[in-house]
Amino acid sequence: MSEKKKKNNKKIAQPEVKKVAQPESKEENVEKKEAPQQTVKKKIKFNWVDALLIVMVIVLIFGAVSRFSGKIQEITASTHMVEYKVKAVGLRTISAEYLQQSMGMQFNMGEKARTDTLGTLVDFEIAPALSNIEMADGSIVAAERPERYDAILTLRLNATVNSSGYYTPQLSNIGVGSNFIIKNKYIVTQATVIELKEVE
């Protein structure tokens, strides 16, 4: 660049610096004061409703991830036909009679929050109910309870299975020792799983 041009540039630059340095009018002062306030107004304030929404979304995502991942996904991998026996104790005579009408009928869980399918009744055995009596001499004997019966029901279910056990189609675990309320059209009773095996 020539020396003349350099000088011209300097001349042009100098008045700009002066402009900034010049004292401002009252109107300009007002504009400068208002300017920062306008930028604050444009920002969206973060309030508790937004926080709640974010928490809800996080909870939903977490719930969806935990529901559809990990062990439960494994459970849905395969199904097997299983036969398992449940024992119900102390049934009334009428309940024992209704069991005979229940052959081939479906049983479900009878709890408030769980109504899982438990399978079809394929067999049952009924025997007089036994209960222990502590005798006067201190010995304990098993005695029959009048008009009460113990029943062993065999249920057949297409169960969901994985390495950690057998599950109902609604994913409640079934294993020896599981205890739940069972019901069908006629009866409802407490029962305990006492045997479980796969069948073809």
Binding site: L53, Q106, I133, V188
Partner: protein, 155 residues
């Protein structure tokens, strides 16, 4: 006052969507209930250890409510009162025997109601009823917990 922003709009949309889903769900339930035919059903309700005054003062023809939600309506159509017998162990011989318990009565009420009988269940207002189910029957002059000991069609 806070300005309405896009997050508020999203919240309103979510609430509307949940409301719509809930409405559809309830609408389907109602439709199922309406399509099922109701008919006259009965259950036998046993109050095992009622005091004599209670047993005597439960009146036949009383309108009652029952079930988990206490909204199912029915009527007591008959009543049987008999001495209450309980199983008592004989500690010398080692067996149980039924013995009458003094001042206690077994009351069995026949309760008729309009319900639905399907292949799998007897229901009243959506509640399933089975033999062995413990429930509360209440109405004018009665408020008793007992067990259903039989169930079926009344006609």
């Amino acid at each position: 006052m806070r300005k309405f922003n896009w997050l508020d709009a999203v919240i309103i949309l979510i609430v509307l969507a949940i409301g719509f889903c809930g409405f559809k769900y309830l609408q389907n339930k109602t439709t199922v209930a309406q399509t099922a035919d109701t008919k006259k059903l009965y259950f036998m309700f046993e109050i095992p250890q009622a005091a004599e005054e209670v047993a005597e003062n439960i009146a036949v023809d009383t309108d009652i409510v029952f079930g988990e939600k206490k909204v199912s309506k029915g009527k007591i159509v008959s009543k049987i009162i008999e001495p209450f017998k309980d199983e008592v162990p004989n500690l010398n011989e080692g067996y149980y025997e039924y013995q009458e318990i003094p001042n206690k009565h077994r009351v069995v009420l026949r309760i008729e109601f309009d319900g639905v009988e399907t292949e799998n269940a007897f229901t009243a207002d959506g509640d399933q009823l089975n033999v062995g189910l413990a429930t509360i029957v209440s109405g004018v002059g009665i408020n008793s917990t007992g067990t259903i000991v039989d169930i079926g069609g009344a006609e």
